[in-house]
Assembly symmetry: C2
Homo-oligomer: 224 residues x 2
């Protein structure tokens, strides 16, 4: 296996209180350097890392993809991603439940954006805090997995409101769980009428083509 070496970066807590301005500045810089930054958010165990693996497989022949794995602790996710051969860095948040734009900037310096078309930030597994902080990403994406239940838009409305795209993962487990796909679509669109919703299975590969197509067109548009 072609395992890519990776480093672990201990992120320092941000001391700035103007995150929105600093996030906008970071977004401008990324636009100029033609690097698309995707902020991927979800609960623990929703399948963020395996979805990223599928995304890399689908797009690696046409663009340079890097991954920043944010976690409180451990480097299991960076290890998994490194097996794809993609550039990856593990970010340790020192107990913080989210990344803001300054912490994201530290991560970007650590991985290096030179020549990268798309960097995926796997945010800390959490449906609350990451939604409250603009990371400076080009777009926000979120995953809701079928076993979590179809009531989640009711309970975590902010997350569903700020995501441009909602991946509904583990769709292959639909028959096993009591999950109403139409209902969750309705609930998400009530909060966010423009949200793009794509059912996927990172396990079977179902829906990954449609997701890769969405990401491809966003990256292309960003570089214009």
């Amino acid at each position: 296996m072609n395992m890519n070496p990776y480093k672990i970066l201990e992120i320092k807590q941000s001391v700035f209180d103007n995150n929105d301005q600093r996030a906008a500045l970071l977004r401008d810089e990324l636009k100029k350097s033609k690097t698309f930054l995707l902020n991927l958010m979800a609960s623990p165990g929703s399948g963020k890392t395996s979805t990223i693996v599928r995304t890399i497989e689908a797009l690696k022949d046409e663009m340079n993809i890097g991954v920043m794995e944010a976690d409180i602790d451990s480097d299991v996710d960076a290890h998994t991603i490194s097996l794809t051969g993609a550039k990856v860095i593990q970010l340790h948040t020192g107990g913080m439940c989210h990344l803001d734009s300054d912490m994201t900037r530290q991560g970007l310096s650590g991985i290096g954006t030179e020549g990268m078309d798309c960097i995926i930030l796997e945010n800390v597994g959490n449906l609350v805090c990451p939604a409250e902080f603009d990371t400076g990403a080009s777009k926000n994406a979120m995953i809701l997995s079928v076993p979590e239940g179809d009531d989640k838009p009711l309970k975590y409305p902010l997350m569903f409101s700020i995501a441009s795209v909602l991946l509904i993962n583990k769709i292959d487990a639909m028959d096993f769980f009591n999950f109403d796909l139409d209902e969750v679509k309705k609930r998400a669109r009530k909060l966010n009428p423009d949200i793009k919703i794509i059912p996927i299975s990172a396990k079977t590969g179902e829906g990954i083509d449609e997701w890769a197509e969405w990401l491809r067109s966003e990256v292309v548009a960003w570089k214009k």
Copy 2:
């Protein structure tokens, strides 16, 4: 169906910075009033509410159980619990990702502890923030559900360290997911050698007897 009416309480953010002391004080008061407070923590969608419903069914003939449902928004969980006939209150945290002891105290005032043997606090769905704040509970319990994966103790070590009991829920879905029960037990016990681990299924009822027995003996010991 015997639906119990319930109220929704908007919790005020705590202004105190000595949470550990205030939590200890609350715990003393609960000990004196012979009310056991269980702080139940987990990811979104791990099955906290359905586990509480099973717990009420198992123990309602022998003790008075009340439930505080904490959420950013919505009252779907309080509604579900109310159908059991148990006393329940919905706490809205106003965007906060956890409860501290002062917020818990507000909830207890709202539900009323008089004559209650056991109050279960369903904390906000989150494996990070709730672990950092002592609520004043008699004991901490956590749920990890099978679809979330067996690597979670590596990623959220604090949560596994402060829980007295770990319920591994959706055990009926074991065959469907790649989940190594022995491995997760090893990882949890490495962080917390005394942690009690009980595999359950809130769906089928498997393991609920053992869990109810644990809770029963804790409540009895608390009242002594």
